[in-house]
């Protein structure tokens, strides 16, 4: 028993079971400087994910050859966006020629929204849209809508104006210190203003640090799209079934190139 060789830092073996910041050591009563600076670096990355504007040209290029159009919410800037979620859920008052000119009545419209992490959208939105479109042959898909200062419910307004059957909003999730670039998808059947959150289905944690891969997220979303179309609804009644598609524990795969 006692002849077991201990690793130099006995915490290192324990760290395999959690990503919590355990065993940091002490400088007097305080956190050692190394841990303080690592924490500050993670916080800075998370804050930058919230505050860096989405590079719309780069997302558009990554979505090529799919066509795109751009819209803005009623929140004119980030500080207002953070204080007033209601403004982030509404289109601004400017006319949207792109939305007006687009073909009406698509089966699905993808809305790529900055949300609380532009970093997540920058990294993951275009590959996920491509993966979904490949799997949705035969459906009428609207141009991809790129939305700035946007909350999930902005998709209702967009979907209603396009007369879409379904809207899928790909949005940056609230960043944490360990993952600042997590993407979520919210699917809503017959989008129109005033839809409640209980009328949507959500796939969250799409990222490259042990989160859902593009392929798995796209499989789930396409399954939801087909079931929603068949049942003519989204929301809680669809919720239980989708879990059947969840991967077995530990099967999370890393995303390529992230």
């Amino acid at each position: 028993m006692d002849d077991v060789v201990r690793p130099a830092d006995p915490w290192s073996a324990l760290r395999a079971s959690t990503n919590a910041r355990i065993g940091l050591g002490r400088s007097g009563d305080a956190m050692p400087l190394k841990a303080v600076l690592e924490f500050q670096a993670a916080h800075a990355t998370a804050r930058d994910a919230v505050h860096t504007p989405l590079d719309l040209d780069a997302v558009e290029a990554a979505l090529h050859p799919l066509t795109t159009l751009r819209i803005k919410s009623s929140a004119p800037d980030r500080p207002t966006y953070l204080r007033r979620p209601d403004l982030g859920r509404r289109l601004d008052d400017e006319p949207s020629p792109g939305l007006e000119a687009a073909d009406k009545g698509p089966d699905v419209v993808f809305v790529v929204a900055d949300g609380l992490s532009a970093t997540a959208v920058q990294m993951h939105a275009a590959p996920l849209v491509h993966a979904c479109v490949e799997r949705l042959q035969g459906l009428k898909i609207a141009p991809v809508v790129l939305a700035s200062q946007a909350r999930v419910a902005l998709g209702d307004d967009v979907g209603e104006r396009l007369g879409a059957t379904l809207v899928a909003v790909l949005i940056g999730e609230r960043p944490g210190l360990s993952v600042a670039e997590s993407l979520g998808v919210y699917l809503t059947y017959e989008p129109r203003r005033g839809r409640r959150d209980s009328e949507r289905n959500c796939i969250s944690n799409i990222h490259g640090k042990g989160g859902l891969s593009y392929a798995l997220a796209a499989d789930k979303l396409v399954w939801l799209i087909r079931e929603a179309t068949r049942l003519k609804l989204t929301g809680v009644k669809l919720k239980d079934d989708v879990d059947a598609l969840a991967p077995p524990a530990g099967a999370g795969e890393a995303l390529p190139g992230t």
Partner: protein
């Protein structure tokens, strides 16, 4: 009732009591989001001038949320103790502020008064108080509760050890518990927020935490913060429930949003009392609250968020809780925008809870989209400890890897112990001493994991599945 004031050559009029209360509140994003905030700083002060002259018993005659529509209002009105209120019934809200700060209002007087106060009176007077007033009066309030430890004694600061894990991995949770214990944290509760909220998962976590508690022989209570209806089911299945947790808010509709009402809380309270698991006391409930909860459920009845928060304390006090905490910076910048607003709200919530007789603690915390950082948390934890806060929440390295927000670290408790001289609950402090973890000068020793005083605990943590 005429609610108006002339200030700086301008007349300010307030249509009713709830608009007056909202306008008198310090500026905060949640009241602005609700369209209730004062338009200018001058209007804010005008509202305070009007509020200061309002008789305190106005709140007994005029409900901000109608009695007929709301069981929380009925709880407040029907449970009001007129005899206890008599000590201050002749005062205005401003006069009440002065009385609270007087030397006559000592710990005994404040304890006797608590059942005579309504949340609306307490919220109103807090709007006339600066941060130092909130600290000075809260510090005089004495609220003592007990289960396996005794909380709220003078010179003590309790802590919740929060060992959250993104997938509820039992070994990962146990390792975080061990880390916290080595800093002397966990006397208020060792309490985990489950990543997956269902009965079997909660039972697995409870059995693991209870096993660790017994193996280490820690005088502490554990809690899995699952929904109260799950806790009732879990108690029916004879699993080891120490404290029953629930988030609560200040209106019937907001509580419905949490899936609870007063009846189900009573059912859970009765069931937990029947288990008789406490050794030095039988306070068995743990409640969390937070400014913005009612508004986010669209259940605020046009009342400002701080007053709605204080009404949640009336719900909590009906069940003699062991601990209550505000999750002050957790709900997001649309309710409390920055460090300044979070700090003010934390002090308000602690003061209001204490004055109503609650064992009030705080999750000193913020999210990454709020304008706040660890410097703001340093300020708030120091202020709250000075104010005699019952307990603070701590996570490894201040980073909650499951809920994705920042709270306090275990190190912060060492800082508060040495800087402000506070200690853990007496039963828990004695355990730390028995374990050889306290140095003669009262500091928590920095021990290597292989130190024989603690190495057996590590062995237990590794045994966990």
């Amino acid at each position: 009732m005429i609610l108006r004031c002339d200030l700086g050559g301008q007349r300010y009029a307030f249509p009713d009591l709830k608009r007056l209360m909202a306008a008198a509140s310090p500026r905060r994003s949640g009241d602005e989001l609700a369209g209730l905030a004062a338009d200018t700083d001058a209007e804010r002060v005008a509202a305070r001038i009007v509020l200061a002259d309002l008789p305190l018993d106005t709140f007994l005659r005029e409900a901000l949320v109608p009695y007929e529509d709301d069981e929380v209002t009925r709880l407040i009105v029907d449970g009001h103790d007129a005899e206890a209120f008599a000590a201050v019934s002749h005062l205005t809200v401003g006069g009440f502020r002065d009385w609270l700060l007087s030397h006559e209002a000592d710990s005994d007087a404040l304890s006797k008064l608590a059942p005579g106060l309504t949340p609306e009176m307490v919220a109103a007077v807090s709007k006339l108080m600066r941060n130092q007033d909130l600290i000075a009066v809260a510090r005089k309030c004495r609220v003592v509760t007990a289960f396996r430890t005794t909380l709220g004694l003078p010179g003590r600061l309790g802590t919740r050890l929060q060992p959250n894990h993104p997938t509820d991995d039992l070994r990962g949770v146990a390792v975080s518990v061990l880390d916290g214990l080595l800093y002397g944290v966990g006397d208020a509760v060792i309490g985990i927020n489950p990543a997956t909220d269902n009965v079997p998962n909660a039972i697995a976590l409870m059995e693991m935490l209870d096993g660790l508690r017994q193996q280490y022989d820690i005088p502490a209570q554990t809690c899995v913060l699952t929904h109260v209806t799950n806790a009732i089911e879990i108690m029916n299945r004879q699993a080891p429930v120490d404290l029953v947790f629930q988030s609560v808010a200040g209106s019937e509709a907001a509580n419905r949003g949490f899936g609870v009402d007063l009846a189900v809380l009573k059912e859970a309270h009765d069931a937990a009392l029947a288990l008789k698991r406490g050794t030095v006391g039988q306070n068995v409930m743990y409640f969390e609250t937070g400014q913005g909860a009612a508004l986010s459920a669209d259940a605020h009845h046009g009342v400002d968020q701080q007053t709605m928060e204080t009404r949640a304390y009336a719900v909590a006090r009906a069940y003699q809780p062991m601990i209550v905490n505000t999750v002050v910076g957790f709900i997001g910048p649309e309710y409390l925008y920055d460090g300044k607003q979070i700090i003010r709200a934390g002090l308000e919530d602690h003061f209001c809870g204490k004055l109503l007789g609650l064992p009030m603690g705080c999750d000193v915390c913020y999210t990454n989209h709020a304008e706040a950082d660890q410097d703001d948390m340093d300020g708030l934890m120091t202020l709250l400890t000075t104010a005699g806060c019952t307990f603070l929440i701590c996570v490894p390295g201040a980073d909650d890897v499951m809920l994705n927000y920042q709270s306090l670290s275990f190190h912060d408790v060492l800082y508060l112990r040495s800087t402000l001289g506070v200690k853990a609950a007496p039963e828990f402090e004695a355990w730390l001493d028995r374990m050889g973890m306290v140095a003669p000068d009262g500091r928590i020793r920095e021990l290597e994991l292989k130190d024989p005083r603690i190495s057996h605990m590590l062995a237990q943590a590794q045994l966990v599945a």
